[in-house]
Symmetry: C2
Subunit: 197 residues, 2 copies
């Protein structure tokens, strides 16, 4: 395992959010994570190395315009494409796992505005194929992270009157993910609780 033993977390100098995260973690011992994405990636590494689950982050799709082959295939012009799927997928106990992770600063609800229509379509397709699909939502002000089944999110996205999911729905129908040291997020425990009862 590369992390957290051995290698130290190398801070991205340009990333102000991470910077703030690091300062905050000094103030708040409970907030061990630099960011939700980092927490999930490190947990996935742990799960992989322990042979528990195999979940990977999909690379960000990039449209390449120009490549300089004189410099050993250096990309000199490109732009970000929209992810047409979710950020994470993989396999656990033979089953297909697919999820998206999001933060919210709101303490009363999770706004649906930062979920794309294409992601909802993708998750509907996953469910159609009997895959396991969910969201991992971090309520930052509460330092609580929930796993919520995708079908509930789809329901609110397509038929909800408000463009958000109330916090109470997470408390009642989601599973609170235990935050720890190794793995940082015990989200596979939440998967067990919800899908492998």
């Amino acid at each position: 395992m590369k992390y957290p033993n051995g290698k130290k977390y190398i801070k991205n100098q340009k990333d102000d959010t991470e910077e703030k995260g690091n300062v905050r973690s000094l103030l708040n011992a409970a907030n061990r994570g630099m960011s939700l994405e980092e927490d999930i990636n490190v947990s996935n590494e742990y799960y992989k190395n322990k042979g528990i689950a195999l979940i990977n982050k999909r690379p960000t799709p990039i449209n390449i315009v120009k490549v300089n082959y004189n410099q050993g295939a250096r990309i000199t012009d490109a732009y970000f494409e929209r992810q047409s799927t979710t950020d994470y997928n993989g396999v656990y106990r033979g089953r297909y796992i697919d999820f998206e992770a999001k933060n919210t600063k709101s303490s009363t609800s999770f706004p649906l505005s930062n979920i794309g229509k294409h992601q909802i379509e993708h998750l509907k397709n996953v469910l159609k194929q009997d895959g396991i699909a969910f969201f991992i939502i971090c309520f930052q002000t509460k330092n609580e992270i929930y796993l919520l089944d995708a079908s509930l999110v789809i329901e609110y996205y397509e038929h909800g009157k408000r463009k958000s999911i109330p916090y109470e729905v997470f408390k009642e129908k989601g599973v609170l993910i235990k935050q720890d040291y190794l793995p940082r997020l015990h989200y596979i425990d939440a998967v067990n609780a919800l899908y492998f009862k």
Copy 2:
């Protein structure tokens, strides 16, 4: 469905391989495909639209060095990273599917030199999680495409005396993939034959 009805295939001007493929397809009616990758992508689109399976190509991982935010997040310096997984994964009948596709010009064997150690490791992890893992190998000179279970490839990769898998192994233990118009490659039929008997 966007393709092949409606939208025409837009040729990448810079891609010499595609160019050759297009010329070849005019000469060889059996060879409808521009390339194996294109054939798989179009077949995946078909399978998705028909609700048969949901398989996606993973984006190529790119390490971004410089981004110009004045031009709306234009990437001005970046380089290709090695794919640490395979190219394709997804879900079919609840099961996790993972595979790599490769061409070979050899008519007698498939050389293992263009399979990375990291890909073998990844596929071993998939099998450990009870996922379905295989290779799709195109023998270009024969215009034959086979699906071969990853465990066989891993066996040859790690214990084989020769650094290749004889063509006969594909004939005996693989499944010949039917080439057609829609989908271009009936590779899910091969998955059924091998894993859902």
